[in-house]
Subunit: 249 residues, 2 copies
């Protein structure tokens, strides 16, 4: 199988595209490919092409796009993962895993119990890091789509975005079984498979009572069994369960 | 919430039990608990008790068992995870995650493409390590059951165990979508929720053609979407999907 590279400018067969710096490094220094080698290029928006290396050297690489080729198919339901930013580097793993399993977009959210601030995320260039991880995960899992990592927002802004329909509907808020009497298990959630959906997952310390009250009024509260799932595994487990429920698997 | 400890001898209210060494260390040195402190004890076979520290010191701890108490409920389908041993320490993560999500037992299997041997597993005391990880994961996820880690077996022995009905039926073998024309997606698998089931997951390099041919003759071949899932995430994703399919969630 040919190595896969991300080239956002790739549009059509016959185009010559330059790879972004990270990708050119990967091609030239890590894989040591050179003129004439065959690779696959995807543009992050769903298109993939066979491609031939035309020039490669000193961290630059130009590729000639050949015929379009197939990539891993996208899920039939486009899930926006609204994930509370976790401690330390755990969010890195969540981004990697969420892209691998097939979410459509990732909206980081800063909740009351998130142990990070918007300032620390910006100063640490965390969003740029998550974007690089999303590209890397898309390369490995065979997708031609790189899910966007949206600007991190406080919980209140997420509420406003949902009100304005800027987050896909239905909105599912994952909670502990004992959190609220209105919560139903994920399997009991009514309705057919939607075209898209939003899935809210809280931080290690959970949602506050106020955040849950906000959710009860507006969204669907769902639970996922009685074993405690680690915060950084919650996205993978719940998206897998939703995909199974909605006949993606 | 009280700290949870694993005491395999815990049987009935009123008993006084000594904790195993690791657990006593955890109680005395890490959590620094002492006489009179309240904890929870589980015996790894489904029972949990409130308990009071009676003696604690120098790496030993004795607990008086109080009334039985609830633990996280066990899944309605008991899945034996038959997992190919993965490279490096990745099997540690698989054991941790599989216990967390709720498998009933873990049967390590050495396949043609596993990059380990039975001798290296034995010499490295890997099984003992996986057993400790299973206890630790059960403590964290709230289960009162510690799934057994069975003796690692070569693929041929797994076939024999299944023939002798020493592995739960149905046996599902997870394969890549293009592996075999007989493979069906997990959602298309026929039949009601079984009481138990076996789930076979291959190594990073996948099953050989001969292993798949063996599976086609005997078992159900199932697939899980078209994105490539990392070997160490496959158990978590596929068990979550099976639980959703079988109304555990």
């Amino acid at each position: 199988m040919h190595a896969r590279f991300y080239a956002p400018q790739a549009h059509a067969t016959g185009d010559v595209v330059a790879l972004p710096d990270d990708e050119a490094e990967h091609l030239t220094r890590v894989l040591r490919l050179s003129r004439g080698d065959q690779v696959v290029v995807f543009n992050g928006r769903g298109q993939a092409f066979e491609a031939t290396v035309q020039r490669a050297g000193k961290g630059t690489a130009e590729l000639l796009l050949g015929p379009a080729c197939e990539a891993a198919s996208e899920p039939r339901v486009a899930i926006t993962l609204v994930q509370a930013v976790l401690k330390g580097d755990k969010m890195d793993d969540v981004v990697r895993d969420a892209v691998m399993i097939g979410v459509a977009a990732i909206q980081p959210v800063i909740t009351t119990r998130s142990e990070v601030t918007h300032v620390s995320i910006t100063r640490g260039k965390r969003r740029e890091r998550w974007e690089r991880i999303a590209v890397s995960s898309a390369k490995q899992c065979g997708r031609a789509v790189v899910p966007p990592i949206l600007e991190p927002e406080p919980f209140d802004s997420i509420v406003a975005l949902a009100e304005e329909r800027q987050l896909p509907d239905p909105v599912l808020m994952l909670v502990e079984p004992q959190a609220d009497a209105n919560a139903v298990s994920l399997g009991e959630l009514a309705g057919e498979r939607p075209r898209d959906a939003s899935l809210l997952i809280g931080p290690e310390g959970g949602w506050t009572a106020a955040e849950i009250a906000t959710g009860v009024e507006r969204w669907h509260l769902v639970t996922l069994g009685s074993r405690t799932i680690r915060g950084d595994a919650m996205a993978l487990v719940s998206v897998a369960a939703l995909f199974a429920k909605w006949n993606e698997y």
